[in-house]
């Protein structure tokens, strides 16, 4: 089996347009979730983490100019602009070429251009554009990827699953490199749905906290470039070493009552990586801040014997970004490993889950070798990947 190295990455959220901007904001405790009163998004005010539209347009125009593209910016949807910016930024180190047939291209999204179902977009974009493969084709053509994108749409674990799929196809030797991108935008479609589930918090979300009152939605995009070649970045090599998914077989919207199935995914990933409980330095959790999700995750972490291990959720900073979440949170975890830095879990004050988790209360500089990233979602799905130095 071949090693899979993380060469470069990008994060676009309310906190910034690069990984560095995002991690700097997190280091300074900046929370990107705020009250938004925009009738185009929801009839009443909601807490959201939104990408700055003016900056998005500005930066996108700059990319079009740099690449001498003739297509007008208006021929791309908001989500496509985010995908293109994110991939462009991550490819900037020029270690991997999209045109190489050995480069796998993977897109993770839950809803893609679903906002195009709204009347206001009918005149601008063809009906076909709501299909995820058409969104994929648009981005493939923009960069000249040799391969059609492999599109993963598996609820809130999509991002982690996309990274896992890339790792598996690189491990097996089917491809040498992979560009893995994930994104979703805040839309009335999604906001109204989560609101009907009464899942949205009236204040910025508080993962694992006693007084948590639900999740906050966010939008964003992230990209990770993987390769079987270690690459030429400064600092230690970082690898994806293990991965697994499981299903609760319990309920389509409520998580497992025992946490056993997520625990199984975590153990399988750790076994594949050859990591024991004592080897895990950090858990980058899903942490949506709904009552049941955080409860379930705490039980899983307990079942794995990892309650002592520092854990955080990045959703307190940029909300739940759906198809982007697994990727941007993994990128943030990679940054933690690179910088040997544990980031505070934003919104957390008092432990409010059944198992005694070691939730990170303040930023802490400490040597880090290995971490596990988890995700769970509707449909009863769970995923875990391990990320390690060297």
């Amino acid at each position: 089996m071949k090693s899979v190295y993380i060469l470069s990455d990008n994060i676009i959220t309310s906190l910034g347009f690069t990984t560095a901007e995002n991690t700097a904001a997190i280091e300074n405790g900046v929370v990107g979730i705020r009250e938004v009163d925009d009738p185009a998004l929801y009839p009443s005010a909601v807490q959201l983490s939104l990408v700055n539209s003016l900056l998005l347009e500005e930066k996108f125009a700059a990319v079009l100019a740099t690449l001498h593209k003739k297509n007008p910016a208006s021929s791309f949807t908001r989500l496509e602009k985010m995908f293109i910016l994110s991939i462009h930024e991550a490819l900037n180190t020029r270690q991997v070429s999209p045109g190489d047939p050995r480069t796998l291209f993977i897109i993770s999204t839950t809803k893609g251009n679903v906002n195009l179902l709204e009347n206001q977009y009918r005149a601008t974009f063809s009906h076909k554009r709501v299909y995820l493969w058409e969104l994929g084709r648009t981005i493939q053509q923009f960069f000249g990827f040799a391969n059609k994108p492999l599109i993963v749409s598996n609820a809130c674990i999509s991002g982690v699953m996309a990274l896992m799929t890339a790792a598996r196809f690189l491990h097996s030797g089917a491809y040498d490199h992979a560009v893995v991108t994930g994104g979703d935008i805040a839309s009335e479609f999604v906001i109204s749905g989560f609101q009907s589930f009464q899942a949205l918090s009236p204040a910025p979300c508080k993962p694992f906290d006693l007084n948590r009152t639900g999740l906050s939605l966010g939008e964003g995009c992230g990209t990770m470039i993987l390769s079987v070649v270690p690459g030429n970045s400064d600092g230690p090599s970082i690898r994806v070493t293990g991965a697994a998914t499981t299903n609760d077989a319990n309920h389509i919207s409520g998580p497992s009552r025992t946490g056993q199935e997520l625990a199984t995914a975590m153990k399988l990933a750790m076994n594949q990586a050859g990591l024991g409980t004592g080897d895990i330095d950090y858990i980058c959790a899903h942490g949506t801040a709904t009552s049941f999700n955080d409860e379930m995750e705490s039980k899983s972490i307990d079942l794995c014997g990892l309650t002592q291990v520092p854990v955080n959720s990045f959703k307190g900073y940029w909300g739940h970004t759906l198809g982007a979440a697994g990727i941007i949170e993994s990128v943030a975890a990679v940054s933690s490993l690179r910088k040997n830095m544990l980031y505070r879990s934003a919104g957390f004050e008092t432990l409010g889950v059944p198992s005694p988790l070691n939730v990170i209360g303040t930023n802490l500089s400490t040597p880090l070798q290995a971490c596990i990233k988890t995700a769970s979602g509707f449909g009863g799905c769970n995923a875990a990947i391990t990320i390690q130095k060297k």
Binding site: P43, V130, S153, N154, F189, T246, N247, D248, G379, C381
Partner: protein, 216 residues
């Protein structure tokens, strides 16, 4: 290790084929809703939750029921049975239904039981709940059926011992159009007893998947 399609079902154009046998056909059904309900009734399944599912989940659920009747996966441990599915339009059929509920500011009543199905992988959840399958999951989207992707992905799962049996297929439902293929893939060395003596398992490869898709 040889991987075999030990059972399959194919639902399309008012027809249901299971392991090369036509098990349901009615010429004059115009609505997909009537077709899928007729199949459910004919199979005499008692599962009240069926009526709560959206069309894609109903289709995937029945596709799994039909082929699992022909074989037995009971001998595998729940964690080693995977479900890997794909389609073209994701959950667009139900996305449109949810979008209808938020079109106007008056009568603005988004429904949680509709919204929950606006994710393509919910059908995997429904199949897993029904059969207590707890292994690997994935849902992929491609413009047209991509048998090679399914074969490449599922083979990896077998090689890495993540699954001992795996349902895989294509569940495409949009409006009154449906094309659903579900195959049970097993390792010839570990495979459970086959109930249907007339069907000969065929090698699990893209050609055979495409053949089943095009044949019936």
């Amino acid at each position: 290790m040889e991987l075999l399609i030990t059972s399959y079902s194919h639902l399309h154009d008012n027809k249901v084929v299971v392991n090369d046998r036509l098990v349901f056909y009615q010429e004059n059904i115009l609505k997909f809703a009537d077709f899928i309900k007729s199949v459910y009734k004919q199979e005499q399944i008692t599962y009240p939750k069926f009526y709560k599912m959206d069309f894609m989940s109903k289709t995937g659920f029945l596709a799994a029921e039909l082929l699992l009747k022909e074989t037995t996966v009971a001998g595998y441990c729940p964690e080693s049975v995977g479900v890997i599915l794909s389609n073209s339009s994701s959950s667009l059929d139900t996305d449109i239904a949810h979008n209808e509920t938020i079109k106007n500011r008056s009568g603005y009543f988004p429904s949680p039981s509709v919204f929950v199905y606006t994710l393509p992988n919910i059908v995997i959840g429904e199949i897993c709940i029904r059969n207590n399958f707890k292994g690997e999951n994935a849902f992929f989207i491609s413009e047209t059926f991509n048998g090679k992707l399914l074969v490449d992905y599922v083979e990896e799962l077998f090689i890495n011992k993540r699954v001992e049996a795996c349902l895989c297929g294509w569940i495409e439902v949009l409006g009154n159009n449906c094309n659903a293929l579900m195959a049970l893939v097993e390792n010839s060395e570990l495979r459970q007893q086959q109930a249907d003596g007339n069907y000969k398992p065929i090698p699990f490869n893209a050609e055979n998947l495409n053949l089943i898709m095009s044949r019936n």
